[in-house]
Symmetry: D3
């Protein structure tokens, strides 16, 4: 249907190789390096026995996320946000998205008055860092929750089910799954889709970078995302079956 | 189909009364007060004969937006961002959305090396401030462009066509068009849809605040948005027919 | 006595048309749009059941003010303070002046341990924004206090009497009342005077922009201010007689 | 007329002992320690061969001021503004006042495109720091200008005449000249008056801390200020007669 | 000589296992993961064809460094500096140290008017992060320089020789080489020593955390450091012998 | 041994004239002006009956320091840190050094839960400001402690002994004691040494500004520092013998 050729001959509806490495660093309760091809994001889950002011005394916990990019994770070095003294609008948008996505599958009452703080730091960027972050953060959160269960701090899991995310987009008229950087910069439409294991939507964020997209195109993109997320959820499950 | 009753007996697929007042303040090249029911947003378009660094020397112009909320536009007073010394993540998300939405219908080459700066300030909030802002900003931009044409600074309009936005959501299982504040806080899903006059998508941002939403629900929401935006585009056109 | 002609043939000792619109927005306990000619300032009074640290446990309340200017309230767009990350020295000076002026007519003991937060936001600027803000804020505060009385939260009014403010200045050697923008930029001396209903001084801030001014000139300016404030106090009273 | 006793039996219309020490530090073009009783302010004038953006290319120079307070200049230690990351509203008000006061006696054209930067740092505070700062800054500026003349960088002095400042106030019903700290905290009205050598007003800033003040009281205060400033101007002249 | 037992039976004058992995990420001109035992620091060298203002037009280049710590690199999560809006004093101290250390072995003239920006980000912390950063940054800088040479942008290497760093300290009276975290928190004296390949000192920073240390102890510490740095320099050389 | 000539014919191992003036300002519990030649630093010690969070409830006190430089303390005016909105890395490094140095001779338990806040502000800079600050701060702290003892708030001194600091460096191959500014800018190696009255090391911070320095040179520098600190400690003692 199209003459477009992807890196490594990847099919239009094919994910890049995904690798999920648990216990990547030693201090965090959950620590996952997730790779979508050349995109590498370190996701740690830290358990803190306190909650932000708006949750104090409610008996409920909180799940939140922060996102960062090492300065030279990208083709061209980007300024260090700590040195500039503020996080960019893009960074804030992404970390708010990660936080909402994870909270969508959490029963905060079952978590108890504690916080799971997710830190998603991009070690190397090649497109799709926010979707990799959400997908990896869920595995890290799972490890942290399992540790709370093992320690007897909670008796039932507060995680209602899996959540994962993937990007889809239209490049030269062709809908593609899981855009890498060169596809992302040249695309007309870019959409990030966050879904549950049951295939329902948690977040849909589509943007026409070039021409506006039609309803028919949206349907194609959502179908691709549905396929991609189902595969990611399966990979999340497999990674959790490994001992340690 | 549902027992849900909206304020004033509004139908599920009905917009709130929309009012567009042009020339609301006297200094700006475009100045529009837009009202979606009790939500009131002042949108001004300022023409500046300079562009940000990334556009310098390209011969192209720029369109950008800032968003603010008067401290007591809301039920409960919110802290003034200027006093806190930073814009919230929410504010940045919204102003980036407005900027992208307007740029989607602009030919920056035809604008020439100048900037149209849109300022969207919420005077009174009752849900849907960002969609009102986009819809009103387009009218303000149109007035600014007409002034540039009249002054002979440009010879062809850089505006490719209309753009407008509306929120849709699911409240107690019922898909609704144009959520007011009380509906917004109680909704399961909230979606902001930005579309062109041709009915194509510029931005789709859907979030499951409660349970994740299904593909069927998404289809219902997109259909509502399509109806709402078409009506808004018609109202934009009418407002521009008025002399000054 | 002078050949100077003011906009609309205004006399040297004449106020611009003043309009005070109460209940301008719906959420605030007091909400007043005040207009001095083309200058339009929205003044809201918000009641908060808490006080700043220095008043805690004293049994006394607090009255404070913040001031802002919409970016395109002015002839030329000014940068948004929230985006710059700090309030200018001018903004801080003005909001401190408004707060002191209002506190001068408040018995903080009778207010009880609560705060009246005044927000004065300039929608359109044409000179005299700080004096309009003080004059309008007093009406908004009165509405908020009346609501506290009606709700039985306080039993006696903490407001000791009216306060209002006006600018006076010397333009081309002629002392003028209530300077509009073009007069303000060209004046030699600019003075803001805040007075009580009894005609006593709360604040006098006079600045020689050009040549220093004499004692005789000061006397003329103070006489003009006395006349202007008396008229404003009368207009404040009239606006409060209206139902609603 | 009053039973009020001042420190050291000072008369109501008497200045504290004033001491002006030129060449207090060695690097600045002008460096003056000025003492009003126990209040000690170091005023330096630095000449910089550049002007701020708004003066570039105009052929005119600029005079500006910054004000600071050592953390333990006061009875109780105040937080260091550099550590807090911002200057207080009070600090900004004062440094803007100093800058305007000095510019009032400067012909910026004769200064040429260079800046005189005044730094007024309070070493020890006991009331009246801003008036001491203005009075001392003028002497420092004079020394800097003399150095420019001596170096042949300018051929005529840009200083039009002297400027000095003093505080006056009403304490327990008695108008007083040059308030020290304990008088300042207990006063009903506090006024800072900046005047030229010719006895004309540059700035008048009066504030009713307690009850509003009458026109008659204002007249008394202005008369005291007139006397005080005349004495200060005379002391400024004497200090400049000293060699070195 | 002492009864102190180190992790893994390490000798008092023994380094932890050191691992240097070049080309760890793909975008940077130099990218090195350096491990001192469980301490892991990613050091990237980015070449930018511009210099900071103080070097412009001098014909000389610049070498500078930034340092960061992922929030959960540590036992207990530390706040993200980008979110707090400023870098800590510790972070600034460390990055200034890294920059000075590297510049000590650079001939900035031979580098030409370009900058080598070093980013040292701690992925996992277990003591000695700043010394690992310096040691790894030098290897990354070497790779970046080799790329400049290969591209013909420079014709002679600006690197004068190796530089490496190690920590030494006194724990329970025993001088130790290369402190890991548990040793660091319990030590009396902590010293970071930066030396050239020739065994000369570039930086010596010793701090008595507990009791002050004697001249004899300092001599013991410097001898340990000398041994450690010599071994690190040898490991740096070996790592550079590997192809790619 | 060398042909190098120092200002005023000072010997290579000779301190500049040192002057310690106690009770320099009137509000602080300890207030010392210390002069090393033309370098003048005002060191105040303020006692506050509270401790930072990490010490609360421990029964222990805290000693901390802040450092600042008046804008025109230097040859060329430097920007005011309060106006820039942040302290430089250099400032933070220095104030952390002063704090650690003073805490090294404090028994925080004997101080009780209170803080001694040291403020070191440079009035005039000519090299060695940080070492003068440490040396003067110790005297100021001593005065503050004596006041606590006299008031019966503590019964035993928490000060374990003296601490003082001096800079040493190598200029044109010659090791020098107590570098003044012109020596400092031209030196190859600059070292700041903080020592106790017993001649033990608290801090050693040596930096090769030019070529790396040898072990033999370090030995020479440490010997010079030892001599200098011993003299400073003696001068500290003498200054404290004076009545008030």
């Amino acid at each position: 249907m199209t003459s477009f050729t992807r890196t490594g001959g990847r099919a239009v509806d094919q994910l890049r190789p995904v690798r999920i490495t648990r216990h990547y660093t030693m201090h965090a309760e959950g620590s996952v390096l997730i790779e979508f091809g050349n995109t590498k994001v370190l996701c740690t889950a830290s358990v803190e026995e306190k909650v932000p002011p708006h949750q104090r005394g409610t008996g409920e916990g909180w799940v939140t996320a922060e996102y960062g990019m090492l300065p030279r994770a990208t083709h061209k070095r980007s300024d260090r946000e700590a040195a500039k003294g503020k996080q960019s609008g893009r960074t804030q948008e992404i970390q708010r998205l990660i936080g909402r996505s994870l909270r969508a599958v959490f029963d905060l009452k079952l978590l108890g008055e504690r916080t799971i703080q997710l830190d998603c730091d991009v070690i190397q960027a090649d497109g799709g860092t926010r979707t990799a972050a959400i997908t990896g953060a869920w595995v890290a959160a799972q490890d942290a929750v399992n540790q709370l269960l093992a320690a007897g701090k909670i008796t039932a899991t507060p995680i209602l089910g899996p959540v994962a995310a993937i990007s889809v987009g239209i490049v030269q008229g062709t809908p593609l799954l899981d855009l890498e950087y060169v596809e992302d910069v040249g695309c007309d439409t870019d959409m990030n889709v966050v879904m549950t294991g049951a295939g329902h939507f948690v977040e849909v964020q589509g943007t026409a970078e070039g021409v506006a997209f039609t309803r028919a195109e949206m349907d194609q993109l959502l179908a691709l995302a549905d396929k991609g997320v189902a595969e990611l959820v399966s990979l999340q499950q497999q990674s959790l079956l490994l001992l340690k």
